[in-house]
Structure formats: C-alpha cells, structure tokens
C-alpha cells in the first residue's frame, strides 16, 4: 500500500475531495499546514511596525491507497488542485508496510 500526501491551496479542498470521490477513494485525512516556498507571504503593519508573514496557509491531505492506485490518485489530486499559480503545492507518495482499521482490527487492503 501507499500513502499519498498532498499539500494544496486551502480553497481547492472541495474540488480535490470531489475528484477523489470520483476516483473511488473512500476516505481522506485532512489537516492544516503552512508552507514556505517560491510563493511570497505578505506584510502586516501594526502601529507602524511591520510584521512579515512568510508562512502561507496550506491544507494537507493524506490518502491511503492500494499500490496500483497511487499514480492515478496523484494525478487526480494534481489536476483538481491546480490553479497554475505559484504555491499550488506538492503531492508525494511513500510506501506503507501495513494499515489497520481501528474499528474492526482488519489489516491490509480491507482496512482502507
């Protein structure tokens, strides 16, 4: 199995989720993140003192998939999350030894 992790723009979450559902993915874990990268942050001014915010808010998605689906899930995310602007994010895949479903204790592909 594989774990596909995506760092995307927060306002693309709904589109990506729809794409994943269309691709037959049944579950996703989502969390908040922030990123540095090519994308610029912004400046805030409080009583004349500048305050540079260079972390840009991002959303992290994690999807456990069968080995065979990793590539297609990655493509689904990339195309749904793409706006073409700098800061669209990354998607990466790592190998997973084992998955268990807490509710049932099932392991492997059954646990997805």
């Amino acid at each position: 199995m594989k774990l596909v992790t995506a760092i995307i723009q927060p306002h693309r979450v709904d589109e990506v989720r729809a794409a994943l559902e269309a691709a037959g993915v049944k579950g996703v874990t989502v969390s908040e993140a922030a990123g540095y990268g090519r994308q610029k942050g912004h400046t805030e001014v409080y009583r004349g003192a500048e305050y540079t915010v260079d972390l840009v808010p991002k959303t992290r998605l994690e999807v456990l998939v069968d080995d065979a689906d990793a590539a297609s899930v990655t493509e689904a995310i990339v195309s749904a999350a793409q706006t073409g602007k700098i800061g669209d994010g990354k998607v990466w895949t790592v190998p997973v030894d084992d998955v268990a479903r807490v509710r049932t204790g099932e392991h492997g592909a059954d646990a997805l």
């Binding site: 001014v45 409080y46 009583r47």
Partner: protein
C-alpha cells in the same frame, strides 16, 4: 441636594469604573496570546489595590481639607473615608467614589508600558504606592484646591512667580493628573524594566484585534463619565464636554487613519482603536474649554501626532510596549497645551491664543505640564527602584519566552477547541 446631579455622578462614577476593564481589553487584545491574562490582571489588580490605596490614604491626600503646608492633604485626614461616608451628603460620598475610579484608571494606564515582563506581585505593590505617592498629590495640586493655579503655587511656594495672577492652568478632567502623569510614569517604568526579549526584532503583533476594538469602545463609553462627569453636575458644562468628547474622538480616528493611509497605504482597525484613545486623551483637559471647532482641531491633530509618536520607541530603543508614551503622554500634552491655543473663552473665562487671548495661558498650561512631568518622573523612579532592588520587578527571560500567563498566573487564556 439636587437628585439630577447625584444621578449623573452615580452613573459617571460607574462609567469610569468600567473604563479599567475596558483598558484591560484594549491592552489585552494588543498583547500576545501568551500574555493577555497578565495584561488584564494588571488592570484588575489596579482596581483592587487602587481602591484600597484611595480609601486609606489617597483620598485624604488628594482632598482639600486639612493640608500639610498647603502642599498635600493630610494623609490621615479622612482615613477610611469614614467621615465623608457618615456625613450623609450624597454629593460628597459619590464624589469620593468618583475620585477612586480616576486613581484606578490612571495607574492602570501605566501597565501598558511594561507588558509581558512585570512580576504581578510587584505590580500590585507599585500600583498601591503610586496611587498614594504620585497620583494623589498631583490630583491635589490640580483639583484639590479651588483652581490648579493655587495648587501649583502652594507646591512651588505660595505667591510664586509661575501661576499667581495668571489665568489657569485649566485641566477639566485630567490631562495633567491622569494622562501626562501616567505617560511619564510609563516611560520611567519601561526604561527601568528594560526591553523585552526580541523587542524590535520579533513582531509581537496584537493577538486579538476585536478585543482591542471592544476595549476602545468601553473606554469611549466610560469616558463620557470621565469628561462630562467632571462637571459634577448635569448641566451645560457636562453637555458641552459630552459633545466635544464625541467630536474630538471622531476626528482623531480620522487623523490616525489618514496618517496610516498615506504612510503605510492602509487604514487599520488598530489605528482606528488607537485614534479613539488618542482623541479621548487630548480632549480630556479641554472638553469644557473649547467649542466644536476647537474640538475638531484638537482631535484631528491628536490622531496625527500620536500615530507618528508611537514609532519613536523603535528609534530611541525604549520598550513602551503598548504605547503609553505615544498615546497618553503625547496626546495628553497636546490637549493640555491646546487649551492655550483654542480655548474659546465662552464657558471658562480665559480664551486661548487663537481666540483673542494672549500667550500667557499657553505658558501656564506648559508650566503645569512641566511640573507634573518632573514630579511624576522623579517619584515614579524612586518607587520603581525601591521595588526593583527589594522584591524585584521583572520576570526571568525564560518566563517571557514560555509566556507570563502560565508562570505568573498558572493559566492559559484560551482552549476553544475543546
């Protein structure tokens, strides 16, 4: 006894008491999330020990009864305010209460200059002593004896050259006693405690701007009691003070936002809230001395001046964390001096320079400010040093980094997610 005047004083005193929690939000919202409670506790603590200081000695010192060489009231003259309370005179009783609320807010204002780094116990000791030794004498000089002139003359030697036979000084609701006094004390404490770790490097941005707005709103609301209540009657002075307070404050918002828009490109909510306070401060001494045009000028310039002045601390390297100097000292000075310029002469007797009066009123206003500055600086320094070298005034650097709320109060402000 005029029940309308008593009613107005009762509600004015209530309004001024509300200002200090208002300040807690104004300052607390500007603090970081890890030190908001400490900031608020300095205000709430000021209420608690300020009341005690006032009831015991402060009221007597500030009062106009038995005095020590005319310079201060006898500290034990009405210990416990018992004889006032037992007099059964409603106006005297509520005036004593009204006075307490002024002492409280004045000392609470100072806390903004030492955000994030003062031991809470030391702050309580400071606030108690400062009300007695600094606030109350200055209140005596300006308000305790008929007119401010007499008070200052007594201080400097009766019949002295400064104030005798001159107009004024005028300080309707506390430009000198409250704002210049607190502003100077704030500067002294900021210097005494030193800069915070990361000052000028780390940003330390306000953690909750709606709280800052809430604080500004409560301050404004309470300030009606402060300014219009200082008429000690529901009369035309009070009504004029009310109108001038609203006009000057509105204009100060515009002044502050204008500077921001030109300088930074954006008008901020912190700027609007700060403009509110700058305007309120500046009109405080002058609220019964000027007409609407005077209020407009005082407010607009207060907003501009203070918005520029808050940057000074980075130039000069003192960490007046929440700008007690830039807002209270600068706008308080401006308002006090402005009387010499734009007092209309219609309500009080003496017109300012631009209203057909001479330069002397301006001189007297400046002298009164000067005396206040000198006394406040010296006396605050002595109290501050005494605390620093006995029980200590500042927390450790580690506490500052991990957050003063946790180490001084054992609490964290928020746990909203649960």
């Amino acid at each position: 006894m005029d029940s309308g005047n008593i009613a107005w004083l009762l509600i004015s005193a209530s309004l001024v008491l509300l200002m200090t929690p208002g300040l807690a939000f104004f300052y607390g919202g500007m603090s970081r999330g890890k030190s908001v409670l400490n900031m608020m506790m300095m205000s709430f603590g000021a209420i608690a020990v300020g009341t005690l200081a006032w009831v015991t000695f402060g009221y007597s010192i500030s009062g106009g009864g038995d005095t020590i060489n005319n310079i201060i009231g006898d500290p034990l003259g009405d210990f416990g305010m018992i004889s006032t309370v037992e007099s059964g005179d409603a106006m005297s009783i509520i005036s004593a209460g009204f006075g307490a609320t002024f002492a409280i807010i004045t000392v609470a204002l100072i806390s903004g200059s030492i955000a994030d780094r003062a031991k809470f116990g030391s702050w309580l000791v400071f606030a108690f002593l400062w009300v007695i030794l600094v606030y109350s004498p200055v209140a005596h000089w300006v308000w305790g004896t008929g007119t401010a002139g007499e008070g200052f003359d007594a201080l400097l030697g009766a019949g002295g050259p400064l104030f005798a036979d001159l107009p004024g000084p005028y300080d309707f609701a506390g430009g000198t006693v409250v704002h210049i006094n607190a502003g100077v004390a704030g500067l002294v404490l900021a210097l005494l405690l030193g800069v915070r770790k990361g000052f000028g490097k780390e940003p330390m941005r306000p953690h909750n701007l709606p709280f800052v707005m809430l604080g500004a709103a409560l301050l404004w609301f309470g300030w009606f009691g402060f300014n219009a209540g200082s008429a000690f009657a529901a009369d035309n002075w009070a009504a004029t003070a009310w109108v001038n307070t609203t006009v000057a404050t509105s204009l100060a918002i515009l002044g502050w936002l204008l500077v921001e828009k030109i300088r930074d490109g954006k008008a901020t909510s912190l700027g609007a809230a700060s403009g509110v306070v700058a305007g309120l401060v500046a009109i405080t001494p002058a609220c019964a001395s000027v007409d609407t045009w005077g209020a407009i000028v005082i407010g607009l310039i207060a907003g501009i001046l203070s918005s520029l002045a808050v940057g000074l601390k980075y130039k000069f390297g003192y960490d007046d964390s929440l700008d007690v100097v830039g807002v209270h000292l600068v706008a308080g000075l401006w308002g006090t001096l402005a009387i010499g310029l734009v007092a209309s002469g219609a309500i009080q007797d003496d017109p300012g320079l631009f209203y057909g009066g001479g330069i002397s009123l301006l001189g007297v206003q400046a002298a009164a400010a000067g005396v206040t500055i000198v006394y406040s600086a010296i006396a605050t320094l002595i109290i501050g040093l005494a605390i620093k070298y006995t029980i200590g005034f500042r927390v450790s650097e580690e506490v500052e980094v991990s957050g003063i709320d946790l180490s001084e109060h054992g609490e964290t402000a928020y746990e909203e997610a649960k």
